[in-house]
């Protein structure tokens, strides 16, 4: 087991190194410190989204409403920012907790299939925010300055504030998953929910906690994305949904749950970020980007699953 994880991690390092080298060969500017800083800065929100997705997928679930939760949190912060930064953040936090709790209660208590639950939740949120933009959520779509700094501010090249936030939050997620009872219970549920229940784990409580944590991580990522683009649009995090799942899958977390780690997802997020830098430098059409992105995600997931199967 230990050996297998190491082997997969080595494979991920090799893939990351390869994409890194190829990108550098295509665009020599990539090897400069500022561009590495930018790549890491852009990887931070994806890393946070992947953290949420990892926790949920470890329990055998999936959160397809994550992108809309991220957009929603960013939207709420920007609109409510007139009444003070802390209050706007509190509103966003409440939003994340409520949406996460609804997801978690439906999945954990009522046994609704997570895929359907979160897909429907995503549709509901799109509806709510589309209506909200012209009614109860009318207001400035500009992010507060402090959050713009926190999402893209430079400390010392290539270290940026979002990178620091990612390291702190990601470190906390990694610690929770590997060193705490909560983390162990998450793995237990993903491995065999029935056995976990019989062993005395209150599965539904854990699942609510998992979906709420996922939503909060998604909200953080959304605010970071909003801060990086300066203003919030309703499609803000849309394009991050597939990458958030892909980063986790490439990182070796099983979609059936019970197996995987956040460190793998971090590698996945880094690989995908370097990849999107590469696609951006190729100056290609949107069609080509989508095609290559989807293809590479599929190929990486395939390579990974065949490596980890070979014992």
């Amino acid at each position: 087991m230990k050996l297998k994880i190491n082997r997969s991690m080595i494979a991920l390092w090799i893939i990351l190194a390869l994409t890194f080298l190829v990108t550098g060969l295509v665009d020599s500017y990539f090897f400069s410190i500022p561009s590495i800083g930018i790549t890491l800065q852009l990887a931070a929100p994806l890393g946070l989204l992947a953290a949420g997705q990892t926790i949920v997928m470890l329990t055998g679930g999936i959160d397809l409403s994550l992108a809309m939760i991220a957009t929603g949190a960013a939207y709420i912060v920007s609109v409510k920012s007139e009444s003070g930064l802390l209050i706007s953040l509190a509103y966003a936090l409440i939003f994340c907790v409520v949406v996460g709790a609804v997801n978690g209660i439906a999945v954990g208590v009522f046994g609704v299939n997570p895929l359907i639950m979160t897909l429907s939740m995503s549709a509901i949120l799109i509806g709510v925010f589309t209506v909200g933009v012209s009614t109860f959520l009318r207001g400035s779509s500009r992010m507060p300055d402090l959050l713009i700094t926190a999402s893209s501010g430079l400390i010392l090249d290539p270290i940026t504030w979002p990178l620091i936030i990612w390291i702190i939050v990601g470190g906390f997620v990694h610690f929770s998953l590997t060193r705490t009872g909560f983390g162990r219970v998450i793995y237990a549920i993903g491995d065999n929910a029935k056995a976990a229940r019989l062993a005395g784990v209150k599965v539904w409580q854990v699942q609510i906690a998992v979906y709420v944590s996922c939503a909060i991580l998604g909200g953080m990522a959304g605010i970071m994305l909003g801060g990086q683009s300066g203003a919030v649009a309703i499609s803000l995090a849309n394009s991050y949904l597939l990458p958030s799942v892909a980063a986790v899958v490439i990182g070796g977390t099983s979609i059936m749950g019970g197996m995987g780690s956040y460190s793998g997802s971090v590698m996945g997020a880094l690989i995908l970020s370097v990849l999107s830098y590469l696609l951006a430098t190729l100056n290609s059409s949107e069609a080509f980007k989508q095609l290559v992105y989807g293809g590479i995600v599929l190929a990486l997931a395939w390579v990974y699953s065949s490596i980890s199967e070979r014992k």
Binding site: G127, A246, A287, G294, E309
Partner: protein, 316 residues
């Protein structure tokens, strides 16, 4: 295959809901004649075809999150190359489009079988690839089709016979024979339990490829019908995602269990009427159509919830 009592009740209650909504809708309109009926049928054809494709795949234990993208791709291919063409060319491209869709479906099934990656992940990735192809072929809204060809789908001025045929022919010609065939039964078999199916001599990998190929057939029909009905194509991920969500919602609403192995294609076809009516009736009242997304999402959750509770009670 005989429907179980539960499925019959389920289909009957959906039918009741459809009748209520039809009456509701007909009261909204000043006249409710053959033209209005035709509009309704044309509105549900693409939703119903996609819902049937998705339902079949779910029955076989899979799920295809790229099914909307598949339909949009075929829509773009046929609309691009049939623009301003004669009847024969439009027909040829329609047939070719369906063949391409079947191949795309088969390749998807093959990748899932061969790689061992979960259906969700593979189809989430292929949805990007397919939309990429669609954008390649048709970079923006546009395209067209031969009008004589389109007539076979949309019918004449006031006649709703042609669209009715388009809606029912796939059920009669594909679903009914398939349901009784060895292949159809093996779809149900791998949907209920892959291991049991394998042990009883079903070639799981090959069945799965056929499953996604038949799903692709429905997606292709949906794409071609979109071209004929709208006489244009728009290669946008938003549209394909909404279409995919609709197809899953219709499958669930139509009594197809997400765990696989349970359900049929009549229920989802009926359920797509419900999904068509919700936004249409709301628009009739002048309500922002964004609300209909909220209602539809909530309805889907509710149906899965009630279905799950009923099943749990049935087991006890």
């Amino acid at each position: 295959m005989k429907l179980s009592l539960r499925e019959q009740y389920w289909n009957l209650s959906i039918l009741g809901l459809v009748i209520i909504l039809t009456v509701w809708r007909s009261n909204q309109l000043p006249v409710f004649g053959s033209y209005e009926i035709k509009t309704i049928i044309l509105g549900i054809i693409p939703i119903a075809l996609l819902a049937m494709g998705q339902s079949l795949i779910i029955i076989g234990g899979g799920i295809n999150l790229a099914i909307g993208a598949e339909a949009i791709l075929i829509n773009c291919i046929t609309a691009k190359y049939s623009e301003g063409s004669d009847f024969a060319t439009s027909l040829r491209w329609a047939l070719l489009g369906i063949v391409i869709s079947v191949i795309v479906g088969a390749v998807t099934g093959w990748i899932i079988s061969k790689s061992g990656i979960a259906d969700i992940v593979v189809t989430l990735a292929t949805s990007f690839v397919l939309i990429g192809f669609a954008l390649f072929i048709q970079p923006g809204p546009g395209g067209g089709v031969n009008l004589d060809f389109a007539k076979y789908f949309i019918g004449g001025e006031d006649s709703y016979l042609a669209p009715l045929f388009v809606l029912f022919l796939p059920i009669l010609l594909i679903w009914l024979p398939l349901q009784k065939s060895r292949l159809g039964i093996s779809f149900y078999a791998i949907g209920s339990s892959k291991d049991a199916a394998f042990l009883s001599g079903v070639n799981v990998a090959r069945t799965r490829v056929s499953l996604y190929a038949v799903g692709g057939l429905f997606a292709g029909l949906c794409g071609v019908s979109l071209t004929a009905i709208t006489q244009a194509a728009s290669p946008f991920a938003v549209i394909s995602n909404t279409a995919t969500l609709n197809s899953v919602a219709a499958a669930v609403l139509g009594g197809v269990a997400l765990a696989g192995g349970v359900g049929g294609l009549f229920g989802p076809a009926l359920a797509s009427l419900v999904l068509y009516y919700i936004p249409t009736i709301m628009l009739g009242y002048g309500i922002d159509p964004a609300y209909s997304q909220i209602i539809q999402g909530a309805l889907t959750i509710l149906v899965v919830l009630v279905g799950g509770l009923l099943r749990a009670r049935g087991k006890r």
